[in-house]
């Protein structure tokens, strides 16, 4: 009987099972896994050292260099594979940081209410309307150091607002639920209530929030690198596009150099979007397919 099956809690976390159940997000999970494996085994998979400038410059695609070489004589394909590392690193770290900020601000505002909420909500709304990329550009322009960690920092401090707003709204509806009042009457303290009674009901939301933040971070990182606001010597899809644009890939007809990083970026972002779609569908029954 189904009832008996359900009583046995599975080892697989619920949100992962949810993702696997949806066709779209299953494709996303598989696609994302491919990227993660590529990033982890990049040194093994890449045919050459991505920074080595030993090759002739601006070679077209060939058997030796699947995607040709850059203006400096680096192998584009090897760069592409190593670039996955930067994107995933930024996505993961900036995603985690902005999710943590969003959780702290959203949960505090939603659970405490009162003037704390007024203040934090004001802050969130403010952060929401300020145009992020110009702010990122300005912040990055002033920073004394350049590089991936600066970009991660800038993305984290500018990208939390949307998540915070959603988490606040969710906790406000959850905190007035009868079972929260019941936990109070059962003698549980506020920390236990927030983390044991309320949080488990928000896992899907936190996962969605993280995925959204990570997706945005990956896009923003590429954009900032493309504008030359990162460290142009790091290997990433953004810097590849930066060099391709500046190195005249267009004029020399080296289209793989231009196409490949953008396509990789698109695939990665699509994978994340597909995963998110599955989670969304679960938290909002109206979106479920028949």
């Amino acid at each position: 009987m189904t009832v008996e099956l359900l009583t046995k809690p599975s080892r697989v976390p619920q949100w992962l099972r949810i993702l696997w159940a949806n066709k779209k997000s299953r494709v996303g999970v598989v696609l994302l896994s491919v990227f993660v494996l590529t990033a982890v085994f990049a040194p093994v998979l890449a045919p050459y050292d991505p920074e080595s400038t030993d090759f002739a410059a601006a070679l077209p695609a060939s058997g030796d260099h699947w995607l040709g070489t850059t203006q400096q004589g680096q192998d584009v394909f090897s760069q592409l594979i190593h670039g996955a590392r930067t994107s995933l690193l930024v996505g993961l770290v900036a995603g985690v940081f902005s999710t943590i900020i969003a959780l702290l601000i959203g949960m505090t505002a939603g659970y405490l209410r009162g003037w704390v909420d007024e203040f934090l909500s004001g802050l969130t709304n403010l952060a929401l309307v300020i145009p992020v990329l110009p702010l990122m550009i300005t912040l990055a322009a002033y920073a004394p150091v350049r590089g991936v960690w600066l970009i991660i920092f800038v993305i984290s401090v500018t990208g939390w607002a949307y998540g915070a707003k959603i988490k606040r709204a969710q906790i406000i509806t959850l905190r007035t639920r009868d079972y929260v009042t019941a936990a109070k009457l059962a003698g549980d303290g506020p920390m236990r209530i927030v983390f044991r009674e309320i949080m488990p009901n928000m896992t899907s939301l936190v996962v969605v929030g993280f995925m959204g933040a990570a997706t945005a971070a990956i896009g923003a990182e590429a954009g900032l690198e493309f504008l030359g606001l990162g460290d142009p010597t790091t290997i990433s899809w953004g810097t590849m596009l930066y060099w391709a644009d500046n190195g005249g890939a267009l004029l020399t007809g080296q289209w793989p150099w231009l196409i490949a990083p953008g396509l990789a970026l698109t695939m990665l972002v699509t994978a994340m979007t597909l995963i998110n779609f599955g989670v969304d569908a679960l938290s909002n029954p109206a979106l479920r397919e028949e």
Partner: protein, 589 residues
Amino acid sequence: MSLLEVADLSVAYATKNSPPTHAVRNVSFSMAEGECVGLLGESGCGKSTLGTALLRLLDRPARITGGTIRFDGTDITALDENALRPLRWRALSTVFQSSMNSLNPVLTVEAQFRDMFRTHTDMTSGEIRRRTAELLEMVLIDPSYMRFHPHELSGGMKQRVALALALALRPKLVVLDEPTTGLDVVVQKSIMDSVRTLQREQGFAVLLISHDLGTVMEIADRVMVMYAGSVVESRPAGEMLHPYSRGLLGSYADPRAETVDVTYIPGRPPDLSRFQDGCLFVDRCPVALPKCATEKPPLAPVGDGLVACHVAPSTKADFADSTFVRSVRAVAEAPPVLEVTGVHKTYTRRRTSVTAVDDVSFALRRGRVTALVGQSGSGKSTIAKLLTGIERPDTGTVMFGDVPVHRLRGRAMRRYRKDVQLVFQDPFAALNPVRTVRQTLVRPLRNHLGLSEKDARARLESLVDTVGLAPAFLDRYPHQLSGGQRQRVVVARALAPEPSILIADEPISMLDVSIRAEIVELLDRLVHHRDLAMLYITHDLLSARLLADEVLVLNKGTVVEDGPTIEVIRNAQAPYTKLLLDALPNPPR
């Protein structure tokens, strides 16, 4: 010729991932012009699906899988939308459940009349406005409200507007789907009175879909009872023959009687995704015969109506084993455990302030139940919050022995809550969906009784036993329990810290009628076995009569009448109490 003829109609909900639910199963009935038919059943019995199917408004995944609907001589079962449109509203209109939003939130009331008139008539704007004003007046609403948006109207007014809208084109049949659910009884009563009066004047037929047996019995010329997707009985309002109908009817009683007895139907309805041989009610039936399990009883004429039962023609079922009886009894004096004196509570929100509780005083005593009776907004839930320390009174005192509850904080408040526990209204919201019954029940034992995890777990079996649940339920999640079972868990959680006071906030109002008496019985037993003081909060005088020794009638934050329950109910003095009593449905038995 009948106005509506339904033959062998079946509706199923078919989704990709789960087996189809056969919500309506081979239903046949007919309605004459001007007839008022009540369609009675509990949640999930398929009555709303049936109503929606008749209106041809079913949306995927619901689908008519068989049978025909003939309306006014036309087969509308498979008519396409263009052919249906002339029939819609002109001949066949509807009022949806009041708790839903059946009025467009961004259009004014007038606009929602206007688009309908524009579609079906050639009336000019002036005529439309005049007619809308007339219609609103007909349902006792001032015509100036036509410029308002729905959110500016009260629930009762919205429902009156919906009724006026339904009658605008003088249809032949109006389907009323739970038209007053969620409204105060006084408002319910006045809306149903309007329906009845207008129906007599204008002669339209009414199909009243409701779970509220009292209302249906009082209004309908004929009652159809639905159970598990099938019509099990159809006859003029009065004595019913089917065991299920009798069980439902038994859950009603007149609270004014010397001895009040109500029945409940043990068990729960069958799984509608499966077909089973025989009678679908067999598992819950007290008089089932062996052949009931194998042979499906047809809907056949018995007496002045139809009934689908092998037993009904010969035996009248009764639920003697599941009856709760309450007669007048003497109450022993006991010293008060909790004394509420002159409490006030005013809520201020953005400059407007609302007085929720105004100078209320009462005492709770061991072994006694005090009922707080009032409509929504009367302040009764605020009083529950003041007593549990969730809110503080602006003035006045709440004394637990010599402990001033209105001043408690932190640890002292936690210690006090060991003694005062709450039973919630909505059993679906009161249990955390991600925690098992065991995880939920362990917390109060550990926190309030200071038991170790091991000792607490050892106690759980006897705890769930006191509320009539088997130990196997401990490992279930809330969604695997029925409403009644959940409410038992909620009661068990409240009992866990061995409190001296139990506050029950509308504990049965969200439950199906057929199982309400079961929970009433449980609460009554607990009060007496454990010598608890109980505050029973309700809008319903019948359950107050069943459970309470004394009653306070609350209106707009003030106590308008109080005293021993039987006296207040039988000899009401305050006009408001009389109004509540008048609003009680009075089904013929």
